[in-house]
Point group: C3
């Protein structure tokens, strides 16, 4: 890894050095596990005391702190740190192998420039793939898919037929995009499969985590909006619309035909029932069960999900139910005694 | 897509036209997103008002409604609509490639007629595959598996050794069937793996969703009964018996050795503990935690799961716990004051 | 399968026969589904009555019981039974195919002795694989990975670049190890991907279930400790440390930077929030939501998770909330009446 001076890093991120700008920085690290040659950061003020004890060569902070380490002052230290990590370590480099002879690429497929398609990847008929795309081993792309530029499909990711993938989309390993929605018409005791004629649209800059499952729509399309990031093992139902710039944390599930606005944050293991509307900038705490429409800007948690402040107090009181019940009985007896007087 | 007249569709589904039977229908759609040439349906009476506003050429209904659109009257409009979708759009057509030279098919395997086995699929020793099966790219079928007729294994689906798959079974992408159950004997501080000598049996007409995991049994078999449909990312434990015609919604988990009757509906993210019995036609609401046996016909929800009507009122009251506690204290003080008198 | 006499089995596991040691045992089975030639076991005393009715030829028990079947007395009958299952049935045998020409193995990779690398598996650059490893079809191993001896990677398992895998590690089908952690710096309304420069370390004797997802660390590493077993569809976040000999039951999720001690048992569908510490020998009941540090030896359940004994009573009382509310109102009215007097 190439070393950078602290000053080079500060210049790159638009920050200001306190201490020696000549210090050589080799790598980025957490506050706790640092050593010489390392750069760390402080964005959560709760961790401020640790900055004083850090062994790091330098720390990225929003405001000057008391520490022996050199400092870079930056307005948004977490973002600045991200830029520093990219400068020091870069993003993953992909093998340059062009179109492997061991891949199976349909003659009717159109492949853009500078793509790398690895052994055992399959690109089906009439599919169009943009420039600079990486298709790792075991990737399957069905018929009539369109893929924009600069996409990365990691090993064994599957894109079913007809789906439309934007630019700079990343799909991690073993994820499934566009499989049939869970749609059956039950008649005379049998569940009849309804052809799922919608597709999945992943807009620009979407990332789908490993082993996540994004169902195609029954009649209309499933959409993940521009810039939204979906964690691992997340399930998105058929016809669901996720707005732009949402974050879906691992193991969350959004049932069919639900609609999320923009900039929503859906916690881990959250469940959202189908056919409801969640506004913009809604935050749903981990493990919540959302069963009703949610207005813009709400922060909710619990099952059923309610306002987070209310929930924090209310759910913590479940523990006191045996006491409450006892107290109720005691009061009842005392009242009886008073009535007897 | 081939257009059909409204009368052709009505004849196909056994319905009755109100309006012009000559109208040409091109595709099926939802109530909201319709346009000329489209057929939609009304099965949920709550949406009846939308029928009046629909832009669709025609609507499938159980009883005549007030609307400008033409109508087809059918007893079970959702099932009729399913039939119309199949007529208009068909089920997915599979590439006709026969047995790809780039697939790896054991010489000892027996493959039925008219199968398509795609590049990079693997069929292991002594495995028997019926007629008209589709094995997509990256599918793995282990040793001694039997697969019936008309099965579809989507990309990267994995069937471990010895499993028995019926006719018309569908396994979606990246699903795992027959991996080792989670079984260990802990002795002297180490967890020793117990060979899982049971298999998985998927009976006729079963569908397994993408990225679902169906463990093989430790000693007896894991069984998914005829016609049952398992959504995406569902986990079924070792030795578990799912009866026929059940629906398991995405992200549900049924632990080992649990038994479900027939026609159960298990909601999304539901958890069922191991070694319990769930009767026939049981409905479990989304996210419920089921820890006890459940009698036939019950509808339950919540964690722990209780009767759904009770649960609806009870769980909604968690929100009022702070108020209840306050009220309890107030009553206590008032009683004290009364006693002092 | 080779038959064994009861005496041979008893000798193998260090047990004592009651009845005829000459009886031939063919296979292992559960208590309920036994027949002639079968060996079963009793480890849970609740099932003792079933031993009297068993059709098995013999039963493994801790202490002599009343039954027509022959018996083997062993101190730890479940462990002894595991040994008997291995003796009778063995662990899965892996196809002996050496390094398939249809696999893609980088010239810079070093492969140990007696490995089997199946068709369509891919081993990337500078990766080192120990002796006696099994890489099934569709497995992907990225650049610079090290894999110890006697590892098994089942079909379509994915190991990203740089990860370090110990000896005797098993990764079941479609699992993902080392994909990017869910880490983004949000700035000016966009979520910027933070390069995840940590890796995943799976220590010796770890097993990862099918379709589980183990994120690589952002800056420090994600670690699964020696002998820990992870079930199917489990999600482990970036930088999380799982101590040795833990059991993570299917669909559990441990968020980023959480730390678990040794010998923890995490139930199915449990969620653990990030950045908390869970001590040694902690047991978390199924579906619990853990939001605070947990001391050594605790047994907790519920969302939020509390002491299991407390929780058992408290959560069961949610059902009584409507009654409690009614009672509160009644008491309030009675007090009002008393005050009026």
């Amino acid at each position: 890894m190439p070393k950078k001076t602290l000053q080079e890093i500060a210049d790159h991120i638009g920050g200001r050095v306190i201490g020696s700008g000549e210090a050589l920085i080799e790598s980025a690290s957490t506050l706790d596990q640092t050593g010489p040659g390392q750069l760390t950061f402080l964005s959560n003020p709760n961790y401020a005391p640790r900055v004083q004890e850090t062994q790091a060569a330098a720390v990225l902070v929003a405001e000057e702190v008391e520490t022996d380490a050199a400092q870079i002052i930056a307005e948004d230290p977490y973002y600045a740190f991200m830029q520093a990590v990219v400068l020091l370590h870069g993003h993953r480099e992909h093998p340059k192998m062009g179109l492997s002879k061991r891949a199976d690429i349909s003659k009717s497929a159109k492949i853009g420039q500078n793509c790398n398609i690895h052994p055992f990847a399959m690109v089906s008929e009439n599919t169009v793939i943009g420039d600079n795309c990486q298709l790792y081993s075991g990737v399957f792309v069905g018929d009539n898919v369109t893929l924009g530029d600069d996409c990365i499909l990691y090993p064994n990711a599957v894109i079913y037929d007809g789906c439309q993938i934007g630019n700079r989309v990343i799909v991690q390993s073993n994820a499934s995009v566009g499989q049939d929605g869970f749609g059956f018409a039950t008649h005379n005791g049998e569940h009849h499969k309804i052809p799922q004629i919608g597709i999945v649209i992943l807009e620009d800059d979407v990332e789908i985590g490993s082993n996540s499952v994004i169902e195609r729509g029954t009649l209309d399309n499933t959409v993940i909006g521009k810039g939204s990031k979906v964690g691992d093992a997340v399930a998105v139902g058929h016809g669901t619309k996720i707005g732009p710039h949402c974050l879906l944390v691992p193991q969350a599930g959004i049932a069919g035909s639900a609609e999320l606005g923009q900039y929503c944050v859906i916690g881990g293991q959250v469940g959202v029932v189908g056919h409801i509307k969640i506004g913009n900038r809604v935050k749903v705490g981990a493990k919540a069960g959302v069963i009703n429409n949610v207005p813009d800007g709400a922060t909710i948690v619990g099952t059923p999900a309610i306002d987070a402040n209310k929930a924090k107090r209310a759910y913590a009181l479940i523990e006191t139910l045996p006491d409450m019940r006892k107290k109720l009985r005691t009061l009842g007896k005392e009242i009886d005694r008073l009535k007897d007087k």
